[in-house]
């Protein structure tokens, strides 16, 4: 279970462990607190986190394809922008979370300021 690092600002910051758990260009599913999230490591750099399931039919977003910061759901190819959460194939948004890296290369996710 990831350690609860910080609860100030009303947010919850949880460690997801080392970045190397995710291969470059792919995503993986994580459990953080009681939340399911998908964390991505696109080739263009950065680490992004979103809700785990596609708003369309619940597809596992972590299994999607990445092109830049565009994510494509593996089930019916809905597309999303990882940075903004925007649904590129229709409109609306998915929940995104901020992820930062510690000096040791661990990912820390901030569940508190997830966008709706």
């Amino acid at each position: 279970m990831p350690a609860d690092l910080d609860t100030k600002h009303g947010g919850r910051r949880l460690s997801l462990g080392p970045l190397c758990q995710i291969p470059v260009g792919e995503g993986r599913g994580f459990e953080a607190g009681n939340e399911r999230i998908a964390v991505f490591r696109p080739r263009c750099g950065g680490v992004y986190a979103t809700q785990a399931h596609c708003p369309h039919r619940g597809g596992p977003l972590a299994d999607g394809l990445l092109g830049g910061t565009t994510l494509v759901c593996p089930l019916h190819a809905w597309r999303f922008d990882l940075a903004s959460g925007e649904v590129l194939t229709g409109g609306g948004r998915i929940t995104t979370y901020r992820v930062v890296l510690t000096a040791d290369g661990d990912m820390v996710i901030d569940l508190g300021i997830g966008s709706p």
């Binding site: 190397c20 470059v24 792919e26 599913g29 299994d63 394809l65 019916h76 194939t89």
Partner: protein
Amino acid sequence: MSGKRRLVVVGNGMAGARAVEEILTRGGGEQFAIAMFGDEPYGNYNRILLSHVLTGEQDPDEIVLNPIEWYAENGIMLHSGVRIVEIDRPGKAVFCDNALWLHYDQLVIATGSRPFMPPLEGLVGRDGRYKPGIFVFRTLDDCRHIAAAAQSSGRAAVIGGGLLGLEAARGVLGYSCEVHVIELGPYLMTQQLDAPAGAILKSTMEAMGVHVQLGKKSTAVLGEGRVEGLAFADGGTLPCDMVVIAAGIVPNRELGVRSGLTVERAIVVDDHMRSVDDPDIYVVGECAQHRGRVYGLVAPLWEQARVLADHITGRDTGAAYHGSKLGTKLKVMGVELASMGTVEAEASDEVVQFSEPRRGVYKKLIVREGRLTGAILLGDMSKAAFLTQAFERDLPLPEARRELLFDIAAPSGPSTFQDMADALQICNCNGVAKGDIGRSVRAGARTARAVMEATRAGLGCGSCKGMVGELVAWFCEGQVEEDPSVHYYVPGIPMPTPELVRSIRERSLRSVSRVFEVLTGGVEDATSKPGLASLLRTIWGRDYEDERDARFINERVHANIQKDGTFSVIPQIPGGVTTPAQLKRIAEVAERYRVPLVKITGGQRIDLLGVEKDNLPGLWTELGMPSGHAYGKSYRTCKSCVGTDFCRFGLGDSTRLAIQIEERFQGLESPGKMKLATAGCPRNCSEAMVKDLGAVAVEGGRWEIYVGGAAGAHVRKGDVLCVAESHDEVIRMMGRFIQYYRENARYLERSYSFVERIGIERLRAVLVEDREGIAAGLEQALEASISDYRDPWLEAGRPVTANQFATLLPKGASGEAARAR
């Protein structure tokens, strides 16, 4: 003129002149110095209207399309009345009957056709010419001659009860000459009508004064110096003083034969309308045979001329002719009729019919899978426009079929799309209606692709894509923009497959990320990645730098993702042959892993469905069977019937062949999935004729190889590539096709589209006859891929990426990952 390419056009009829017009509108006047040759001493005229000249409704001047001045105005050198007798292909020159010869850089053959002359005794007089009183009906001069003769004749016979014959009959009737139409077949206009419609037309014709004699074979022309009558096979005779022969046409293909071009019924062309033998010789019109068909109507000819012009001017080197749907609307002796597609229904077709012989009205529609595949309308044209559109565009039809025959309520508009309700569902996979497409266009989308992206229409099984394109064009009202990416290998890189392959080879691009770096400046396109990964693997084999993020999830975990995020596991069972021991093992593993659904697949294998990603490696290991590759864009499986061991009809050992095929091609990645089958006899129990590749045993120990079949959302019977003499030859020829497909198809382009796009004639030329000398190279490249094959399920013990098979991290965080149901 220097610097211009020399274009010689043989034939100045409707096809030749139209092709030149199309070339000129594409700026061809700047590129080419054009010379045209025509038999007839005129400009170019509309042959379709000849019957009007015959009846006197129109003057010859009125049907001229391009007068003599037009040629000079456009800088075209017209040699009229001159005939080309030979083409010197190596020397690139044409020779004329007046001893002139001319060099060309590119040549267009548009020699059209001539009347078919049935073998009649006494047709030719002692002087070796047709007897006075014998006429054909093809040119302006023919019209003049017929008209002149009819004025002084008492009775005329017209041989041929087709469209041309009836038009000739009508022309002659106008000169107060008795007319008899002599038809060999059982009814009139057998090309366009069925028997009941033919019967109605006959009585209408007879009411107008035309005598119609059916099932009558003419055998001889009577009379010594000139025509005095006709004799028939049944022993009867018909006294008459003129005979018009309108018994069909024959393509003028002799020039092609003499010049060593491939000629069947006509000169065989590829999809760019070029001779399959010579890239500098184009062929258009009635003398061209495209995908086994020769067209004698004008609409296909216009389409061909456009493709030819796009291609020869370089305006669109990807321009391709895909064949035309045949439909005609015409007026025969004041009787209107329309005919399209199939005339006779097949057993499984739906036939909608109405007949009112007293008024000369007849309507028959043939509906196949909800689409119009054939129609005959006689005497009432009120629904013709609607039906023509529905036929040409393959539109879905109203459920109440009577609406196809009559205007039930309000008078119908001219357009089907107009009539179509906004709520009508166009894309049945993603539930997109006509109205949604309209809204998308109004929101600014101008290409089919943009609309598809925005609405999801056509992005399911893809079978409605054509219709979506048509609707977008209709909503755009001419403002539609062509989406160039339809010609690319993948949408994200603006290159057709051969060009992309060249680029990748020249610059030694060995990984997907490197391709983007070099070719798009680093801009990654997610949906293009799997296609590039497949192509790079095909090109580089073991030197390919595999980046797993470029793969679709199925190919990362070697299983097929399901709607709930679990996976399906299908082990290899070559030829569908298993053993009791194997079945027991599968059963035990399925129980141990509590597999929710065990199902026999259509490919004669066993599918274990609902497996968690985390359980894949364990399950594979315990099965101890290799991957069946039921998840990738690759060779899938080869289905087979029982074959010779037990079947009492079997002609070939289909099971052994299927196993050999699977052992050879297992796991090969390809632009689209490849489903194969072998059938031990032409009963085709394993459906080999509708597979991407199929082998069907025929008597004599041989195998017919079918390519480009489909029986999914799209249904198509494959084309026979060749007949192979042995299992080894089947495998060799299939291998050539597979490698050619791997190197030339667009990503996700299934074999049925690929075969139609390239054309079976060309595939035979390249793959069977090795006209381009690439067969050995294809075999070698394929061999390299095959020798690199490794069962991907061996990754069970050696994952390639971090947490390759983990559903949820950290591992064991909750019980969920190892969820057993």
